[in-house]
Symmetry: C2
Subunit: 335 residues, 2 copies
């Protein structure tokens, strides 16, 4: 079904307030969840609302907690997230990164002991809309085998890069380290389809595009095979080192759900000190035209440019309402 | 054949001095090339020496040029590489990044109008051996199609992440945005073998592991399909924006060889301000043990950890001498 953005946001807000969150905080979290659904990322929008409430009830997320500063030096700051809502902690860190970038040109904020930030692109978009370049990542519990291993030891560890565009929409990538999410495997299996490309190994170690066989083996494929596995590992350890926080194995042990106690890093840069906003906008326009000038390959709908899918989804949501699964919506109405 | 490290380094040094480089600079460049070969990355070591000399002769690299500072603000600095040797420019930027990290905790150095940095991991290793975390990338000429396109519009844009380990070898990833390099396709084809995994599309748009068919179509696969394509695009534009430099389309137009006029970014962080070196070493040890505890998958030799291949190659080189192709070595001897 489709629900108007404001109605969806208000419903999430009601649920978060009922879960114990203050009104202002509930408004922010509700907006972020609703925006993710609006942009076509329901997996981190509407579909996570009930789970968030469940985490609060279990004591895995403390809706009242605020981040507290642990250390600071020049353009670096480190916080303890105190298991507060991941969205609020991440926005706080992005704001601190922006303040540091204003003062030093670049700032790094590490946060440990935080919780699921939902859609990582949210914070890249937030910074880039305000004129900043942002790099950010989170570590997470083990959901993916290392390269050459058979059980889950690596997090999905989304990595975000964002660039502002003067007078236009920012350019953002927000990528998990697995080729496909488990959510995508499930959806594809339920539709009786195969994955567009191999997404993992079956239990015999054979590469497969059959989602059910990968769900069974739990051997989802890192993006780019060994490359994504190594990248995920680096993001895990650097997240912990730069925040004084924990890595995947301890997130697993903590048993506080997805990303419970995770470590995150936010690097914010003021690009105007490197080149003018006008120059940057021209560079990006030219790079986009360069890509778009490539002849369309057989079997493709368009020559893809980062963020196009999101922009199309948003346009459709604004016109027709935001898509939400009937069951998910009914569940939220009952919370 | 195998050549002792010192002999190889001295031979490269002789060649670089003959090409017009001062003695001290030639020593540095020779060492970096020889170290790449020693670590098993001949593609960016011995195999690039003759090409470098050719670029110097063509006026694409100015052996006498030094980087000049264009702008600076707080922990940000931007340089013009003046088409100097990419290795020297990149070491200069890493040193500046280290100085900024000492002062501010983090520093960013952008450099435009530089030339091929050879192996990107060199600079991550350099910073990490001195106790710093480093992120670095370069943009490059178009060698890879965008996602959904059929001709080359994206650079390979290697991305480097490095973490120091107190009392041990740093952990480094240095990854190009294509799944395989053209060099790998050629080597595999000449050996009459197939790629371990599909490496591109044939001219009919069918995914293939036959290297010859990909060399023919020029449709090499981005790592992780659309993910690597988007990542490559972001690194291209952010490289240019953060250095006031150019992107792939203008590197193509400049016609000064691979990476001629490229834009690069170096971010250096002093992790000791975030967590202690001892804590970091423990975190990394634990994360490594976590990965290594995964049961070995069928068909694999080991559960892989970033940098293991490099460490093994280095050990072998130190014992037996550095591997170099006979023809490549003969060509260098004649330079």
């Amino acid at each position: 079904m489709r629900v108007l953005f404001e109605e969806m946001k208000n419903e999430f807000r009601r649920v978060f307030i009922k879960a114990g969150m203050g009104e202002a905080k509930a408004e922010i979290c509700a907006r972020v969840h609703a925006e993710s659904s609006r942009d076509g990322i329901s997996s981190h929008g509407a579909n996570r609302v009930a789970r968030f409430v469940d985490y609060v009830k279990k004591g895995w997320v403390d809706v009242a907690a605020e981040p507290s500063r642990e250390t600071a030096y020049g353009a670096l700051e480190v916080y303890n997230g105190n298991l507060g809502p991941g969205i609020l902690n991440a926005i706080y860190c992005t704001d601190r990164g922006i303040a540091l970038a204003e003062e030093y040109g670049i700032g790094l904020v590490g946060i440990r002991n935080t919780t699921h930030w939902m859609r990582g692109g949210t914070y890249g978009y937030y910074a880039a809309c305000r004129g900043y370049v942002a790099l950010a990542w989170t570590n997470a519990e083990s959901v993916m085998p290392p390269w050459g291993g058979t059980d889950c030891k690596l997090g999905n560890n989304p990595f975000v890069l964002a660039a502002p565009v003067a007078g236009g929409e920012p350019i953002i990538i927000d990528m998990a380290m697995s080729q496909y999410a488990y959510g995508k495997l499930q959806v594809t299996r339920l539709a009786g389809e195969k994955l567009p490309f191999p997404g993992g190994f079956d239990k015999n170690g054979v590469l497969t595009d059959e989602p059910g066989l990968i769900e069974e083996s739990m051997r989802i494929l890192p993006m780019g095979y060994w490359k994504g596995a190594s990248f995920a590992f680096m993001l895990d350890i650097l997240g912990a080192v730069l925040s004084g926080g924990i890595t995947a194995s301890d997130i697993d042990k903590a048993g506080k759900g997805s990303c419970g106690g995770a470590s995150q890093v936010f690097i914010v840069i003021k690009p105007d000190y490197c080149s003018s906003a006008q120059y940057a906008a021209e560079v990006i326009k030219k790079a986009k035209e360069h890509i778009k000038s490539s002849p369309l390959a057989a079997g493709f709908r368009l020559v893809q440019y980062p963020g196009e899918g999101r922009a199309l989804a948003r346009e459709e949501s604004d016109k027709l309402g935001v898509l939400v699964d009937d069951t998910v919506w009914a569940e939220i109405k009952n919370l």
